[in-house]
């Protein structure tokens, strides 16, 4: 498959994520949208690494291909850790405000 399809999918995912973050008030949904954006980026990384596998530079140094893909795993690990922290915050939020609406989170304003 051509690279443009990958890019198109990634952009669509990313934009969905942004729109979700901007428009929704439910913090769990926002959280999911952030994950969506993260994975759009991951997808791009893998796609580009695959695309470059055929290029002359990479032919001379095969390790480069696996470097990018390993990097994606790192991101996924960090994302998993982040999810655990984020969800914990949301649980505490719910316990304190009985709601997961981000618009209630304005107590620092005054």
């Amino acid at each position: 498959m051509e690279i443009k399809w990958y890019i198109g999918l990634a952009v669509a995912l990313f934009c969905t994520g942004i729109v979700g973050v901007l428009t929704r008030r439910n913090s769990i949904i926002i959280f999911m949208c952030i994950e969506l954006m993260l994975n759009a980026v991951n997808l791009l990384l893998v796609a580009f690494s695959k695309m470059h596998a055929a290029s002359a530079v990479v032919q001379a140094n095969p390790n480069v291909v696996s470097d990018a893909q390993i990097f994606v795993f790192f991101i996924m690990v960090v994302a998993a850790a982040e999810v655990s922290v984020g969800l914990a915050i949301i649980v505490m939020l719910y316990r304190n405000t009985h709601s997961v609406d981000v618009n209630f989170l304005n107590r620092l304003k005054n």
């Binding site: 901007l22 008030r25 981000v102 618009n103 304005n106």
Partner: protein
């Protein structure tokens, strides 16, 4: 006898010490202590000066080097003292008359608070220190330090009673006018240094031949501007009459005997420069003579006892400059000396009168003081005779020498000078007659209080009176006694260089007798006229008219200066204050503050607390970066 030169540094240092003790400890020292410290230090300086004088008289001169004051590559200016004939005479005048005035002050200022009393003596000692520095310095830079120091002390002492606004204004006027002159002096010193690379008297005077005529004329003119300010000559003389706001002993010491003669000292010191600049010499003579006449006419109509004396001082200083201008350097120094005696005496006598009259200074309210204050009366009369130039009092010899020298240059100068001398005799005896003769015209209460002053006041008066009478005998002209002019012989080495350059045309003895006879007879006539006219003076309330009004208003010179200089400067200052300062600078500074304040007030609104808006901002920010990255 050379050992005494080892001690010369003590002469200025002792008054400086007195200044430090009285000045720093003014809240601790008692009045008696302050008086003893103040007078004592000056007295010891006087003793050393006397020893130095006798050593100089034997023909020793000395330049003492203490340390390098300025030392930059080629320019080296040492902190040096020069002791020679000229400076030793000034040392004697300053410390001698200074000591008498210190003693006088202990009685005159006795009503002051102890701390003010000590402050007064501190200032007075600082003045003596600066004045000594001025005359002892061996180069123009050290002289300039003293030159500025005496100006400062004059300011401090004129404004001594600083709670009175008018006195402060007088002090400021004196200081600013002096500063104008000082700028000229400073420029002259720079000019000298740039041409010769040194300011030392010895080197400068030895290498005058290296200077072009333009240089010498320029330098001497600028130096003379300095002298105009310090010695109250036209056009910078108006500060001196106003300086009478200070305590009377201060007027006697600073504004009659010593500081105002600094200009004469400076020109006499650099006499060779002036001899080589005939243009400047003529300017000096003309300015001096015009000042002498102008001030004398003003003095005719003044009614404040100190104002009369102040204008008389300006007038006598004019005579000294006339002498300098016609090349009679000895005559100028001689007149400085005799003037220091009789004018200090006149001021101190006036102080004694003011003291007795409880602060009254208007001679129209005095009269008949003769029978209440015999010592003051007699000493004052002697001083008046001396200043009027009556033989054999001191003023006769010095004034006659100046007039004779003026005649040698031009009979016209002599004629105008004699006119001034006539006026001098007239206004001095008007002052004398209105103060001491006739009937008392003051209030009954004042009459009840009239008393002779205490001993601390009368003894200095008596000493100065003796000096005013005999002081002239060291300069008896050649016609009376061969070798009688001992001062001239003494000062010979200082003026040798100038004398070698000028041709002397001695007047014939007959001529000299005639000149003397004319001036003495004319002055005597004026004296008798004033005596008879004012000894029966009755107070009349009558507006002055015509010329009298112009004279009483001092030729409107103060008003003129006010209109053409003071007011324009003040209005420019006001313009800059209102427009440039308030709107420009303040506007800018305050504007920055206001802009930050306003901006932050607006930006604060972004902190709405809405998470969505923050996220939107973040996204917009990132987009902005993308756009910048892609397109710029």
């Amino acid at each position: 006898m050379n050992n005494v030169f080892q001690l010369v540094w003590l002469i200025p240092v002792l008054p400086l010490l007195g200044f430090l003790i009285n000045g720093l400890g003014r809240k601790q020292v008692s009045k008696t202590m302050a008086g003893i410290i103040g007078s004592g230090t000056v007295f010891i300086s006087f003793l050393i000066s006397a020893a130095v004088f006798f050593s100089v008289k034997e023909g020793n001169t000395h330049v003492a080097h203490y340390f390098d004051f300025i030392n930059i590559t080629a320019l080296k200016i040492g902190f040096d003292f020069q002791i020679d004939q000229l400076s030793s005479i000034f040392l004697l005048i300053i410390t001698g008359v200074g000591f008498l005035i210190h003693v006088y002050s202990t009685a005159y200022m006795h009503d002051e608070e102890p701390k003010d009393f000590a402050k007064y003596f501190a200032y007075l000692n600082l003045f003596v220190f600066s004045m000594l520095l001025l005359v002892m310095g061996a180069n123009f830079v050290i002289m300039f330090i003293g030159w500025e120091g005496v100006g400062l002390c004059s300011y401090l002492l004129i404004g001594f009673w600083f709670k009175n606004t008018n006195y402060n204004i007088a002090a400021k006027k004196a200081f600013i006018m002096n500063r104008i002159g000082d700028l000229g002096f400073l420029l002259a010193v720079f000019w000298l240094i740039s041409k010769l690379g040194t300011a030392d008297y010895h080197t400068v005077f030895a290498s005058v031949s290296k200077l072009t005529v333009t240089d010498i004329t320029g330098i001497t003119m600028l130096l003379f501007v300095g002298a105009m300010g310090k010695s109250a000559q036209i056009p910078l003389y108006t500060w001196l009459p106003d300086a009478m706001a200070g305590p009377t002993p201060v007027s006697a010491l600073i504004h009659a005997a010593t500081m105002v003669t600094a200009g004469i000292y400076m020109i006499a010191r650099s006499n060779i420069l002036y001899t080589m600049a005939p243009v400047t010499q003529s300017v000096v003579a003309i300015v001096g003579l015009s000042t002498a006449i102008l001030a004398a006419t003003i003095a005719l109509k003044q009614n404040d006892i100190k104002k009369v004396l102040a204008y008389s001082t300006v007038s006598q200083l004019g005579y000294m400059f006339l002498a300098l201008g016609v090349g009679a350097y000895t005559g100028a120094v001689f007149h400085v000396m005799t003037h220091a005696f009789f004018k200090a005496l006149l001021f101190l006598g006036a102080g004694s009168v003011i003291h007795a009259m409880s602060g009254e200074q208007d001679i129209r309210n005095m009269g008949g003081l003769k029978k209440y204050m015999s010592v003051t009366h007699i000493t004052f009369l002697l001083a008046c005779l001396a200043i009027a130039g009556m033989p054999p009092f001191s003023g006769f010899f010095s004034k006659d020498e100046i007039l004779a020298a003026a005649y040698e240059r031009s009979p016209l100068l002599w004629g105008v000078g004699v006119a001034g001398a006539i006026m001098t005799a007239f206004y001095m005896f008007r002052l004398y007659a209105m103060t001491f003769l006739g009937k008392f015209r003051g209030t009954h209460e004042q009459e009840h209080h009239l008393h002779e002053s205490p001993k601390a006041i009368t003894i200095p008066l008596i000493i100065l009176a003796i000096l005013s009478v005999v002081g002239g005998w060291i300069g008896i002209p050649e016609v009376f006694m061969h070798g009688g002019h001992r001062l001239e012989t003494f000062l010979e080495p200082v003026f040798a260089q100038s004398n070698a350059l000028t041709e002397k045309h001695p007047l014939s003895h007959v001529m000299e007798y005639t000149l003397m006879g004319v001036s003495v007879a004319a002055a005597l006539a004026a004296l008798v006229f004033a005596w008879s006219k004012f000894s029966k003076y009755q107070k009349v309330e009558k507006e002055e008219t015509g010329l009298g009004k112009v004279l009483a208003n001092k030729w409107y010179v103060d008003e003129l200066y006010d209109t053409i200089i003071v007011k324009p400067v003040l209005s420019i200052a006001k313009y800059f204050n209102n427009i440039f300062e308030r709107k420009g600078i303040d506007g800018f500074v305050n504007g920055v503050g206001k802009a930050v304040n306003y901006g932050s007030r607006q930006i604060r609104l972004l902190q709405s607390g809405q998470v969505g808006i923050y996220v939107l901002m973040m996204v917009l920010g990132i987009l902005l970066f993308f756009i910048i990255q892609l397109f710029l």
